[in-house]
Subunit: 262 residues, 4 copies
């Protein structure tokens, strides 16, 4: 039972002072990071040709390590009071989002008959990059940003809805203006939406743009409104950050009778 | 009279607890939403070819429902004290902005002799999307954003005027610099304005840009000033949000004698 | 002498209640505004062909009115204590920035031998648009924005210097990376600067961009730093607006002894 | 010994009132500035052809002056208590970042056998532009900006990490969507990264963009998330500036017993 407990401790988040567990954490994260790099450079044809064999070996080792880690977690989880129970506890662990991602990242490797080509298989492995959210150093900052987004949720949803309205209206407008002159570029409203997104976000690839006078006039007004797409969320988030920081600074008021936060 | 009152209640904004009215509200909004989707996908030629008949049927049903709703509102409005009076009340309701939009959205369907082609007719139906402003859940956020815009109205108008000046000056400047070298792209000041908008909003499609040294120099300065077009309204709105939030937090001061807000 | 005083009053900024003077102010502003429109649409070849004669007549009338106004000011200014003295006062008025602009706007019309072509001559007339700064309604907002810029002058200058450094360094870098592969596009550092401005302001016309691996890597880092070019001035101006608004709210502290502001 | 001390004073940062030292500071900065201009215009082929000889002479003089300054500093530094000791002090000075940059800027000129071509040699000289950080006038603003960045370091690092994640995920996604249709443009994940950077920073050159429906859908979502790349750091920095300014305003609390800041 001691080995099982130690295994669970080692593969879980490291407690302060537990050097072995910390080392494992860092090794796994490094391996994930290396996997990301490998997936990226492996997509370059010339690299694949030269170092393909080496990268394949690295891939097999990675999947082996990830599998080992996955099995070890599943085997040892019963010592944790959240996942106790031989079957029930393991099923509960199995459906934890992080564990599901881990499974999705390694499973296709064992199921070649699924017909997933090697490339997609590797890109799926990129999912493990989400493990980075476990790095606890930036928890305070992450919580601050999360707190800001939550406290401004309603405003941000409203801004998103306004943006959605603007997107639908502007693409319909441009479609009506440009469809007859540029039947290929503005072939349909969804096609005009691609233009709308590129304009409202001010990306402006230049693959599609209005050429009629009326179209250009509408596009100008839409582009200027698009500037508001930056100003509104920025203003809201800026105000949110200031609020959150001031809130965190204030001493929490405690009820003198029950000791709870007011 | 009871039926009339109930009709008015049902088609108006739902009171808390009125499940039938709420169900109608949600149904109408869903139908509007589906109409928006239909208008968008119906503009795709391949979809139109395959599902044209189905979409036409859906359109006829939608217009029928919207007409029914419109007539029901006009018939039942007399029970509301704001619109009482058989003729006078209905005329007052008729000119309510929301009702006018509803009419514009369905009328062209009944007036084919107006010569509006089917496409425009459908795009007009998109106007009903404005009904979404009736969803009251986001009223608090909407009011906050409205309050910010109103309290900063003067600053925002001034920034718009400055932008307008910058637009006129920069397009005239670029027109003078580039007209001789690119007589097609910079054919007139309005054409140069299209360039100005694309540059000041940092969209930059790349369909028109200066090629002379002087033109590039001017364009560089204008592009950098364009960054200010983002910074100014963002700063103003950000300050507005902080002010508005602080104002809403402060307890309102009530006069102890008359009970009115100070 | 009374006529002279009245002339000066009428052509100066209107005092509250002086309807005649206010009417003149509005007329002149309207005429300037119409001139701006005329200059803009007159640059369109097809408009020029059709309405050229009409626009020419309008132009002659405008210049006549502006000349009359200019002479009337110069003649009547001696009644103002700031410009009294037949010669000395008029010279002082002559060198007022606004009057100089007015002169530059009308003078080229009388000096055809200067060899300025008709187009530039008209564009010069656009300068009178600066008269809009005399509209006093938005003085409070204008002063707020001016106050923010002045209070943050040092930070904004510093940000500009940092941007200048970034501009020089990034264009030199890209020039070194790309010159050999694209000798036409990145022909010199000034040419690379055009790229730098388009990238740092995120305009991105797409007329010039790196194609080498190293160039793309550098460009990516520069583009991400360019995002900071928006974040920094926006943050500074946002903070400035909040400061300025709080300052304006606070009651001014007056010394009880001398009555001056502390 | 007096000459040595004077030399050190003169080439160091000027004390208030020391006119000679100040003159030298300004001269050196002017020379650096002229060097930057020369490097920039010298890269223009037509300028190089016409004024090449003059620019070469200017270059030799500049390097001579910079060498003289470098040697004078190294010779005189022993009078400073930080760098006393004939060898040890000079070695310590030698490894000061600013002095290293000065050396790197002049050394390649004396080592033609290094095989550095003349162009790179000149661009290296641009490094001296960093000397501008010595201009102390804008120290207060620079410290404010530095203080803001330091106090928000964690949040900014977190945002950078989130951006990195978004970059990796979005380029892998687009690579999967577009690789088969555009094997040249989206040839590998690193190539797709170039697209990602151009989109997330909203530069959008238009040299590479998705053409498949799925690719455009993903790109739209990524472009909209890219707007957040502006909103988050701007909001964080804006809050940081407001905090920093408020902090600097508050009177520092001094302990009445020991006199240290609390």
């Amino acid at each position: 039972m001691n080995i099982r407990k130690r295994t669970w401790e080692i593969f879980g988040a490291a407690k302060p002072g537990d050097i072995a567990s910390r080392a494992i954490d860092i090794s796994i994260l490094t391996l994930i990071f290396l996997n990301v790099i490998v997936v990226i450079i492996d997509s370059v044809p010339s690299v694949k040709e030269s170092y393909g064999t080496f990268l394949n070996v690295f891939e097999i080792i990675s999947v082996a390590v990830f599998t080992l880690e996955y099995v070890a977690r599943l085997w040892s989880c019963t010592v944790d009071h959240r996942f106790n129970g031989r079957v029930r506890g393991r099923i509960r662990l199995f459906f934890q989002p992080m564990l599901l991602i881990d499974l999705i990242a390694i499973l296709p490797f064992y199921l070649p008959f699924l017909g997933i080509d090697l490339l997609s298989l590797r890109v799926i492995r990129l999912l493990r990059i989400l493990r980075i959210t476990k790095v606890s150093r930036y928890y305070a900052s992450f919580n601050l940003i999360k707190q800001v987004f939550l406290s401004k949720k309603e405003e941000l949803v409203l801004v998103s809805v306004l943006m959605g309205l603007l997107l639908v209206v502007s693409s319909s407008l441009l479609f009506c203006c440009e469809n007859k002159v540029q039947p290929n570029a503005f072939s349909s409203i969804p096609a005009a939406m691609w233009w709308s997104v590129a304009t409202l976000t001010t990306v402006g690839y230049g693959d599609i743009y209005p050429i009629t006078l009326l179209g250009k006039l509408c596009a100008s007004i839409i582009a200027i409104l698009g500037v508001g797409m930056f100003a509104l969320p920025t203003g809201i988030l800026g105000a949110g950050f200031i609020e959150a920081i001031q809130k965190n600074k204030e001493p929490k008021q405690i009820c003198p009778h029950c000791g709870k936060e007011l």
